[in-house]
């Protein structure tokens, strides 16, 4: 039957149009979130695409259409976790201890003086030397297990409770992963600065 008054088809079209009208304006934000979550541009596109497909399927059950952006971001976060969970290598317990104890603040304080001081504050000088792309590259080197919650916090400003829901783990686990994510990132920035000759470790 090719009639135009099929009530089921009409209802589907109405839902689809409403979803597109509400959800597609958030596409640039979702793409940014995806591109920060995964290293490859192709993976980011697939992640956003699949988020919208899943979003449309669940849209009729969404109670508050005004909350659609956060809702889509949580879907995207869960998809990212499901897809990339397997790719995170285990970190040895000894390494975790070293990560927990790492302090970029202390290393900068102990480093030889910056050969090109700017502000007289070595901690401030340290950060100002990094081009944007190196910060993003350092973040992408974090294992998925740690990068995903940190990016959801930074880009989407999720609370610990929202992160726990999106990642399917307790709030305590979120806290510990965010702590380690930041410490690993500090380590990556330090190593990057050393490679570029911006700092030298002081003799101990």
């Amino acid at each position: 039957v090719t009639g135009t008054t099929d009530p089921v088809a009409t209802r589907r079209d109405t839902i689809r149009q409403a979803f597109e009208a509400l959800a597609l304006p958030h596409l640039p934000h979702l793409y940014t979130l995806a591109a920060r979550l995964v290293a490859s541009g192709g993976d980011a596109e697939d992640l956003v695409h699949d988020t919208y497909v899943k979003g449309l399927a669940g849209f009729p059950a969404l109670r508050d259409p005004a909350s659609i952006r956060g809702w889509l971001c949580r879907i995207l976060g869960r998809l990212a976790v499901d897809r990339h969970r397997r790719r995170s290598p285990e970190i040895a317990a000894g390494d975790l201890l070293a990560i927990d104890r790492f302090s970029l603040y202390d290393l900068i304080a102990q480093a030889d003086a910056d050969p090109r001081p700017r502000s007289g504050n070595p901690h401030q000088d340290f950060l100002e030397q990094f081009p944007d792309h190196e910060v993003r590259a350092a973040l992408l080197r974090l294992p998925d297990l740690f990068r995903i919650p940190l990016v959801l916090l930074y880009v989407q400003d999720m609370s610990y409770r929202e992160l726990a829901d999106a990642l399917g783990c307790p709030v305590g686990t979120v806290m510990s992963r965010l702590h380690r994510a930041r410490k690993i990132l500090e380590g990556e920035l330090w190593e990057c600065a050393r490679r570029r000759g911006l700092v030298r470790r002081a003799d101990r």
């Binding site: 596409l27 695409h49 919208y52 497909v53 449309l56 009729p60 970029l104 901690h123 610990y160 806290m175």
Partner: protein, 81 residues
């Protein structure tokens, strides 16, 4: 009874404090400690600056051409329930 917070414990709470995930007595204790410890104030200022430094670099980026079209095409065919 209010326990006096040591620097080591205070530093461990910085991230939760900056993320507004610390509440009640824990916030009070940390802020009490900060009032009397310049070293921790410096460390917290650096931690906050580093946080914003990274956040700022994750701001919105340009979408690839064709992504919206690809999504619209799939949504046109996808089932709705």
């Amino acid at each position: 009874m209010i326990n006096e917070l040591g620097c080591e414990v205070a530093v461990q709470e910085f991230f939760a404090y900056l993320d507004r995930a610390l509440a009640g007595e824990a916030v009070h204790e940390l802020e009490e400690h900060l009032r009397s410890c310049l070293e921790c104030c410096d460390r917290l200022a650096f931690t906050r600056r580093l946080d914003w430094f990274v956040r700022y670099r994750l701001r919105e980026i340009a979408m690839p051409d064709g992504l919206e079209e690809r999504i619209r095409r799939t949504l046109g065919r996808a089932p709705v329930e």
